[in-house]
Amino acid sequence: MIKRFADWLLKKLCHPDYYTDIRGDLEEINNRLVNRHTKLAVEVLYLKEVLALLRPPLTKPLLKNHNNSFMLLNHLKLALRQLTAHKSYSLINILGLSLGFTCSIVIALFVINELSFDQHHLKQRNTYRLELNIKSGSAVNHYVSSVPAAGPAMVSELPEVANFVRLRRGNSGGGDLQFLAYGDKGFFHEITYADSTFFEVFDFELKSGNPRRSLTYPNSVVISEDVAVKFFGDADPMGKQLELDNEHILEVTGVLAKPDKNSHLNPNILVAMSGFEPPTYADLNSWGWFTFYTYLVLEKGADVALLNEKMQNLIAKNTSAEASERMSFTLMPLEDIYLHSYSDGVGIGAVSSIIYSQILTVVGVIVLFISCFNYVNLFTARSSKRFKEIGIRKILGSSKREILFQLLVEAMLTITLSAFIAVGVIALGYQSLDQFMGTTLLIPTDKWTSLILVSLLLVGLIGLASGIYPALLLSKFQPLKALKGSGKQAGSKSLLRMLLLTFQFGVAIILLVATFTVQEQLNYLRAKDLGFNKDQVLIMPLRNDLMRAQYNSLKNEIESNSVIHKVGAARLGLEGLHGSYRVISQEPDADPTGTQMAIYPVNYDFIEALDIEITAGRSYDRSYNLDTTYQFIINQSAKSILGWDDPVGKKIMLNGQGGMYGEIVGVAENFHFKTLTNEIEPMVMFLRENASNYVYVKASNSNPGELIGIIENAWQTVLPSYPFEYQFLDDRINNIYEKDSKFGALINLFSAIAVFITCIGLFGLVTYMISQKLKEVAVRKVLGASIGSIFLLLTKALMALILIAALVGMPIAYFGTREWLNSYAYRISPDVMIYLIALISIFVLSLLTVSKEIIKATLCNPAIILRNE
């Protein structure tokens, strides 16, 4: 098979003078090899030799004295003449195609980038993240973190597990920033504790330092290049000492190279796990502490199903019967983490969703199709113009094949030209693509080669596909009929053309509906009443205990200004993170297992600063003594789950039996402490005097500049040695939906481009169709037709097409958008207005597109047009 192909290639391309004896030589060599190697190897060697033979002195001259090459040159020349002769038509074609290509290449780059995450680790296929499922009542919560004891236990007890690494996000486990200082330079950074096996499991490159030893000793730290530059400038960071939270001295033992490949983990500061100091309530042998991200490397060929069973046994061995009943592990393949992982709790690293890539791929393919349809449409519509040319060619002896070939060369030329323009545009704008896409494009080099090959192949295929139908159509003509000038053969009402146009309109309508729906949903999310007042609220993080110790002085200092309404604080920052505890009622006849609920440790005046409504009982107040029992304020969801009509005064216990015992003192209106993709969960607030990680400053009317000035002054008085950080609460909330907004903007753009391409195609088509109908219009006018009736004559087909497209497209749009909306717990209901607006926009746009030509036709002077008849 391979040899046959190679022979064919040689015969086609080798100079005929040399062919016989070269072929003989090859044959002889081949026969000697046959007995020594396998058949396949011999054939591959043969092909290799043949390919090496294809060099200038031995091949047929490409452009010399050769009929076919002459013809090819001639075809190219003719195609170029066609391009330049009909400039507006060529412009429409090339503009549409190059826009389509540009869009699809940009989308391809984005999707390739998304798919390339964590594909480069050497042990990638055998690496899994140990994830945790916890049953709570009927629900199962899934966490991507797990217990610290699991990794070591599995490596020593399960033969399938070869290696592990545990990561932990900083002191708190939740990614709070920690203060890192070198001399007088200090910055807040998120640090990650990692086992010494980190560089065995993942392939991150070290610019300096030994990957085997850099995380072995306590107080070793590996930093990224950026961090190194921030602290040490150009000096060599190795061996330098950094101070963590003013108490630990860390020594730099490695510098991470700037990543050139995508990974969901993007560590900036890695501190050796051996130096990690667990809090008093837990240690690294715990099976009940869920804040460690554990990655396991399995032996090659390990049976994952069997392993799952063994892991369950391990849980049973190490935890109580009740706990092992509720706990189970899941193995998440490393390569799927970025696009497919889901967590009910805190996660680590970057995550995305495959849905973005899927939607964009569909849009990209559609845009590509639309732009190709333009080409086919315009070509077939204009085919009658070519009748004479092709008729004469045929009479002069062109074969059908020749004409087909010529027309294909034309199509290829247009498409290749457009492809070059698209590539040029992208090459020029590549630097700004990152910003535009909202990610950093890190495309591996091997992907570039395949991308280029696939693009070349696609350009060829598209050229063939969009060229073949018009070419077949034209080459089929009877030359005599064509020359007689009865150009009705191809029909001005080609069914295919109608179909393609309808498809384009249908797609345009679907995309418009999608765009409007996404926009409306995003607006809805932005305007949704969150249950608290986010206006005029400034939020400041207090990053460490030293800062938090100053909270009350800071509060007093800020509140001494008259424009400040209230200063409150809480453990959390309203961006959707929270812990959760099992809440058990302590009243008689209650369910002893309880329910998992979100917990929110708050400080005095948090509820007041955010204007959260208390519907029953009271808020926290300093006039009530803090005694040994806790005071709880629950939200409405928690109230309905606990099932009391009047929960005030009832006793509950948090964190299981023997946990935090106390009394419910109030019920708060539901407010959104999580993103709007989630329903409001049952939640319990309790008072903690040290819960001041986030300070909330509520101002009465004042301008932002003045407000910031006042607060900064207070900050400088109380915490002069720390950088002043702040954010307005509404900005902070909007940031949560940033990925959605970015995505919405992308969809907007691509829909606009798709509609635009459709419009320019329509413009070309209508311009041409009207020029064909000009005589008819003139005759009608002479016979007394009104301008209105002529306008209707010219546009009614178009209207009908759009209506059909709407009938087909709208249901698709409806089901598609409903699917997307369903991913939000709080969403708009499908709105008839959106569909109407989309339809009207398409009508208006297409009428606008064609109006100039139609008006010109309608207002024409029949005498001029009919003069030549």
Binding site: D21, I22, E28, N31, L51, L58
Partner: protein, 112 residues
């Protein structure tokens, strides 16, 4: 070397054709070079060198016998022409001249 253009590989091929004298056809030349010089030669490289030199006039060729081994295709034997021989001699002379011009010291092994 302006007078006779002869690349390094071309020179090797030309010399080998001389070595094989009457038996110099494609496969034989290829194998001779491969065994003597211990380097891989592709048919493409060899044939393009042969044809190039034939065009320059360093080589001439004649059709030989056809064998079963070659699928019934005739061999093409190459011979060095007088002009080719001149080119070889010229290139040898140039080299010798250069060798002789090297000062003795430059070739002695350094002791450092």
């Amino acid at each position: 070397m302006k007078k006779y253009q002869l690349g390094e590989f071309e020179e090797v091929v030309l010399l080998t054709v001389g070595v094989l004298y009457d038996e110099a056809y494609g496969v034989a030349i290829k194998e001779e070079i491969e065994t003597r010089l211990q380097r891989k030669v592709s048919v493409g490289a060899l044939q393009s060198a042969l044809r190039r030199m034939e065009q320059k006039g360093y080589l001439e060729s004649r059709e030989g016998e056809a064998t079963e081994q070659r699928g019934g295709r005739p061999k093409r034997y190459f011979n060095i022409t007088a002009y080719g021989k001149k080119a070889l001699e010229y290139s040898k002379d140039v080299r010798l001249e250069l060798w002789n011009a090297i000062p003795k010291v430059a070739l002695e092994p350094k002791m450092s």
